[in-house]
Symmetry: C2
Subunit: 435 residues, 2 copies
């Protein structure tokens, strides 16, 4: 029998907890011997005191063992996943997963829904008519084995303790704690039976951890703890000071991901897809070098095999593949308005946070977890960072289910575009590689 108050006090006073103490706390939360209010006091004490790697491994192990752990034993190919800490316009998973599957990996990817100002892969997938994000573990394994890629939603069976703890963190101001973030991400990922993981840790204004120093600390902690827990883990720290690509919103982003799979689309989305894909192929050991990995990926984009994987996955999940062949069949919002430049100049910056929240307000995200999203709502960027506009020219197009609703965001989106006299310097997309 553990005494929860003693464990809380120990953490509060800065001592290291034993793996048994941490396991007792987590299992106690599930069996009711540790209350929600005790766990939230513990989480706040952890926010202030942090955790050693040994404690973080113990926490993620306890969360992992709170539920089912998939084995995916019948899948031969290396099982490699990617996880992003969340950004605005981040549709990379949709094009990256089928791409690396075409290049020889198996991608059992469990994704989430939109949260705060960032969108979620599940919401983007559900913009495809008929796509079902819920599969049984057995069916998930079969799709990964036969198609090489399956993108599904979180299930009740995997890491239930993580879900309980995350829900508490969300309402008690304890989200922004590096060891808690690390344990949460890795427990979910380890429960899917992976061999390796590539992390995309966002940095900059639109990221959950905007400051470069903290983002790097998070990336290093993820890589250290992931490897300590037996998962081959690499992280890229990537720029989120501007939205990724030219679209924000579910169907809009799915369309952009399909463009990438058609060997077109915005350069930054393509580049980040290739960078993360290269890391995945190297972690999976299916290509001998960075150069070879990159070539294999470019080939899979050029010869249509990546797009073909995506279509097969969508069909297997019950989705309408005609929407992939002809993306104009994807849902569209009823109304749109254009935001125009109030002066002439270069677009020197686009605030991703403002655009993220505007997109939520237009209907693409949720105020509460149980709200539905409007698949067609969102924002198209018409004047990307670095472009030159003259007064009155369009900056963005806003999509919503009514003109009135779209117009409510005109002001915020206009202000999100910074206009200056000189073209801005190019910023690197990949800020750091942590291994």
């Amino acid at each position: 029998m553990i005494r929860p108050v003693e464990i809380i006090q120990k953490k509060r006073d800065g001592a290291e907890l034993s793996p048994d103490e941490i396991a007792g706390l987590v299992s106690g939360l599930l069996d009711g011997t540790v209350t929600d209010y005790q766990m939230s006091a513990f989480l706040m004490a952890t926010f202030f005191r942090g955790m050693t790697d040994r404690e973080t491994v113990a926490l993620l192990t306890a969360m992992l063992q709170s539920g089912k752990v998939l084995k995916l034993g019948s899948v031969r190919a290396p099982k490699i996943d990617k996880h992003s800490t969340g950004g605005v316009g981040d549709k990379i998973s949709l094009c990256l997963a089928p791409l690396v599957a075409a290049a020889g990996l198996a991608v059992p990817m469990i994704s989430g829904r939109g949260l705060g100002h960032t969108g979620g892969t599940l919401d983007k997938l559900e913009a495809i008519p008929g796509y079902r994000v819920g599969l049984s573990p057995a069916r998930f394994e079969r799709v990964v084995r036969e198609v090489g890629v399956s993108l599904i939603g979180q299930t009740r069976e995997l890491a239930p303790a993580d879900r309980r703890i995350y829900a508490l963190r969300d309402v008690t101001g304890t989200v922004e704690s590096i060891p808690l973030i690390v344990a949460s991400i890795l427990s979910k990922k380890l429960s899917a039976g992976l061999d390796g993981l590539v992390l995309d840790v966002k940095v900059g204004r639109g990221a959950f951890m905007p400051e470069p120093k903290r983002a790097r600390r998070l990336a290093r902690a993820l890589v250290r703890v992931g490897n300590a827990a037996g998962l081959k883990t690499v992280a890229l720290v990537t720029d989120m000071s501007t939205p990724l690509g030219l679209t924000i919103g579910n169907a809009l982003e799915t369309r952009e991901a399909i463009e990438i799979l058609n060997d077109r689309g915005p350069a930054d989305v393509r580049e980040l897809t290739l960078e993360l894909g290269t890391e995945m192929l190297l972690v999976g050991g299916v290509e001998p070098s960075r150069g070879a990995a990159r070539k294999a990926l470019e080939r899979a984009l050029a010869d249509g095999s990546a797009l073909e994987r995506f279509s097969r996955m969508v069909r297997t999940h019950g989705g309408d593949v005609r929407a992939i062949e002809r993306p104009e069949r994807l849902p569209r919002a009823r109304s749109s308005v254009v935001v125009t430049a109030r002066r002439s100049g270069y677009v020197t910056a686009i605030d991703p946070l403002a655009l993220g929240w505007s997109s939520v307000a237009l209907g693409a995200g949720r105020a509460r977890a149980e709200d539905p999203v409007d698949p067609g709502a969102g924002i198209e960027i018409l004047a990307p960072r670095g472009s030159r506009v003259t007064r009155g020219e369009p900056l963005a197009r806003l999509h919503a289910n009514s003109k009135a609703r779209a117009e409510t965001e005109l002001e915020r989106v206009a202000k999100a575009f910074e206009l200056g006299a000189r073209a801005p310097r190019r910023t690197p997309l990949v800020v750091a590689r942590v291994r």
Copy 2:
């Protein structure tokens, strides 16, 4: 509508909360819009970040306003109370309250039960057969007006938010936070309609805050915040490195308090009673000087008027006054055993913490709030600090409801007595006066 998570984050990040934010949090806890787990996260954040005096005043005001506030309008005499942070053998309230009442004050004292290793005034009063600690507010006011003193238990009507918050702190490792302690003590005291308050802040091994620095910080915070909240407040920091007096346990301590009221009893108990009483008379403004106050108190002990007040109060509360006239009528435990010295020497120290917990184990305290106490159980110190014993001579007598139970504590109590070659130096009883 306040957003609890934003208030938690603000405190977590070190910003000062507005009185409205704090009031919203406290009223939200009572009306259910703030959950227990949010409050406990807030309490832990407060443990780490502290509170400004303005925040602490806002917290105590919110807790005060969560319930009824007594006015005691019909009581003419200055209403002055004493509060101790809790010590081992601390029976001062029992003799002090009737003493200062005899000297012209009104004492509306709301007391608590034993907690951890320390006893509670209510448990000691209930050792007197028939004594009822529960009075209605109207009856409480009448007793204070007519007798000058009434000692009752906490009622549901006063500061309910404090009770809720204290219960949470107890199980979430957030007891030892100075602003939370200050707000809790003062909200309870202010709800009794006081004009002034004298605090006895214990320091040393048997105290809840053993280190002198923290005890002084607590005393200063209590005095500052008490005065800021409109209550004339003074504090003495007093020694708790050794048990107070020669008895620990409910009936044993009540008997010792009656001895003090009979102008006898241990010197330290008498001295602390006079010191605290002097402060109370000065705060109440009923004596012109420290010397005059002390004289008035000594007179009330010598002429029997203090004892007479105590008897009247006990009678009014339904208690059997014959137990006061003949204290051998107070409950006694069925069995007792004597602890003897294992070597010869001076008693250089007596560990109050060990004796406090032993006394709980003998039946004088509780493991859980709902447990009953054994009024006769406890410890008599036969060889006080500074006395010389030879091997085999008695150190203490243990009282319990069975010989077997008494014997379980022989070892711990023997070890609590430190024996040395030289007589220890006298330590001052009052360490500091804070005003």
